[in-house]
């Protein structure tokens, strides 16, 4: 079973992921790729507490994930990759391990220096630059917070006037 979704979401494992996408995709495995979190067992436990018993969570660094992604893609488990920012997803894409996997922008919330693009997406200049770098790797990128929402392709997203 291929990796079903690669999502950028600063809330990582939360309601939209567990209830919204999780139920729709019938997930077995959530992989959180985050260098900092991969070294923090107590924070990993906090995230695991939010998952149903039948869904496994793995926390790994970018370096380890680059080696492991091909095995997840060929594994029988239905898996879902999460990063908390665009830069981490871009690093994965630059290693060539996201070919044929669509990147989903699911949640980047309000913070100093960021402007609202969609109700669940706020971009800074740095975020926009990272998105263009991600796009240049050839990976398809779109925004969609929950399965029932309209998917917005990256080119359209970058043309939306921020507010």
């Amino acid at each position: 079973m291929p990796i079903l979704l690669c999502r950028v979401d600063d809330r990582l494992i939360h309601g939209q992921v567990v209830v919204g996408w999780g139920a729709q995709l019938d997930l077995d495995l959530v992989v959180v790729i985050d260098d900092e979190l991969s070294d923090s067992e107590w924070e990993q436990e906090l995230y695991r507490a939010g998952l149903p018993d039948e869904v496994e969570a793995l926390f790994t660094s970018v370096e380890a994930a680059v080696e492991l992604i091909p095995s997840w893609a060929s594994n029988a488990a239905r898996s879902f990759i999460l990063t908390r920012d665009i830069a981490t997803m871009r690093r994965l894409a630059e290693h060539g391990v996201l070919a044929d996997i669509e990147v989903n922008l699911g949640g980047l919330h309000s913070a100093p220096g960021r402007e609202r693009v969609l109700s669940y997406l706020f971009f800074s200049d740095h975020d926009r630059a990272e998105l263009r770098r991600l796009q240049r790797t050839g990976v398809r990128v779109s925004a969609q917070d929950v399965p029932s929402a309209r998917k917005v392709e990256l080119d359209e997203l970058l043309e939306i006037e921020a507010s």
Partner: protein, 134 residues
């Protein structure tokens, strides 16, 4: 500093405001409860805001969804604040019990709240129309 336990209600969408409105409509007071909605906030911003409300006091953070970002933030704060309890799956009977008993020690408040965790389902079949249960 007050010895009373303060309640911080953190929810998705407008749920926290709505539940606080319901409590105020029933009790006539909003005292002891603060509502926080997570809309548009990064986890870091939400954590900072809730921590500012906790201050040095004794608190219960009520969240709606055990698997949500609000619950995650509350659990992170519990890691740092010893006099903090986190309740996932908030409901109105639980909040009403809290506002009427928040002058008790935190341990006693928590024991009272345990009685309200969960849902009551009342359902009758044609064969036994008088059965109800939890």
């Amino acid at each position: 500093m007050s010895d009373e336990v303060q309640g911080i209600l953190v929810g998705h969408g407008k749920l926290a405001d709505g539940m606080l409105d319901a409590v105020a409509g029933i009790t006539g007071s909003r005292e002891g409860l603060t509502a926080v909605d997570n809309a548009s906030m990064t986890p870091e911003a939400l954590e900072e805001h809730v921590e500012s409300l906790i201050g040095d006091g004794t608190s219960v953070v009520f969240v709606d969804l055990p698997s949500g970002s609000c619950a995650y933030v509350a659990r992170r704060l519990k890691h740092r604040h010893r006099r903090l309890a986190v309740v996932c799956g908030v409901n109105l009977p639980l909040l009403l019990d809290f506002v009427f008993h928040r002058t008790l020690p935190l341990e006693d408040v928590v024991e009272r709240l345990r009685a309200h965790v969960g849902v009551s389902i009342e359902y009758s079949t044609d064969a036994d129309s008088s059965v109800s249960g939890r």
